[in-house]
Symmetry: C2
Subunit: 214 residues, 2 copies
């Protein structure tokens, strides 16, 4: 079976899950924390080399204050959980804004926890325009040198993007690294995560051929 | 019904269609010409404002010579057909390479044909890295100023991308304009285009909500 080196995760549908379950929208995010850890362990098990979670974007912070507070807190909690595991962790996003939580500043350079291992990236207060705004071609115009001059230069190209919550769009997720990504959509909301979603995505990915335009 | 302002088209599966029909791979492209005109007319009818076709990429030209020759010729033929219609046409791509057909140089600035009208963009010898390589933030770092400094600055953000040929990836198609695009995949190969594919995509698009991250 062909295992993707790098998986991107768009854990969408937290608010819709909350509404469906009679909870205030802001309470959905908390139920997305353990699925994230579960998915991390599944990826680790099968030998994925890099895993990137879409935490929240600069645009997301225009939402109601209690929602912004809630998803920010869950990103902090996610980092606490991940730092108990064997991983090489990076938090990436616009730190020059008060929307970036101070608690996560120490993680904005990649740090090994436990025995290190699978790279995990968490996008926090990320923006596609912020990412591209670093771009300079002084080192050349090849794909490699373009990616090398992004704010997200420490994140490699993505093989498979899995989005929960039914929507079929990238929503600004790492536009340069996702140019050739295979894109799999799970209809279930993220807090309803089940390992089978992940296995189905891998099965589907296994059937895709990679041409890279050739 | 909510009609997308700007539709992006990835007309994939020409070679697979040729193989399925017992033809040499390079003969598939020719059968993609009329579907393109048909789709143009359908979009015109319902009031789409802009339509962008993925012609070929710089990577595509690494294919066998007879294939490269064939899809290049079909892009030239497409422009000939479109210039008989009411449209505002732009051909966009890397002209500083011998893979860009000379015949299309006169169309690299937007020109009105007939009574003008719907904008049509055809990407010819396009590359996502080539597109981004123009990026400069001297005019600011907003989304608008980032898009304004791309090579593809004359192409607006895309609401709906329809890809024929089953694959679920963007393959480098206008990474900045497609950050929030809804992405619809048709399993049929492009030369097997039917108007119903288009209507199904519109129906699906009509059911999507637009959040733009908010």
């Amino acid at each position: 079976m062909r295992i993707p080196n790098h998986i991107g995760v768009i854990p969408d549908g937290n608010r819709r899950w909350a509404v469906k379950n009679g909870l205030p929208k802001s309470e959905g995010y908390n139920h997305g924390l353990l699925p994230g850890l579960q998915l991390f362990k599944l990826c680790q098990e099968i030998g994925v080399k890099e895993l990137t979670y879409y935490g929240f974007t600069m645009d997301n912070t225009k939402r109601k204050n209690e929602q912004t507070k809630a998803f920010t807190q869950e990103c902090i909690n996610a980092v606490k959980l991940l730092s108990q595991e064997d991983t090489s962790l990076l938090v990436l996003g616009n730190t020059e804004s008060d929307k970036f939580p101070e608690e996560l500043l120490p993680y904005t350079k990649r740090i090994n926890f436990g025995q290190g291992g699978m790279k995990v990236n968490l996008l926090v207060n990320y923006g596609w325009h912020w990412d591209l705004s670093a771009l300079s071609t002084k080192d050349g115009k090849s794909k490699k040198s373009i990616i090398g001059s992004l704010k997200s230069r420490d994140i490699s190209k993505i093989d498979l993007i899995i989005r929960w919550g039914e929507r079929r769009r990238l929503s600004g997720f790492l536009p340069a690294q996702s140019v050739y990504s295979d894109f799999y959509v799970v209809d279930s909301y993220w807090p309803d995560f089940e390992p089978q979603h992940f296995y189905d995505a891998l099965d589907w990915y296994n059937q895709q051929d990679i041409t890279l335009g050739g």
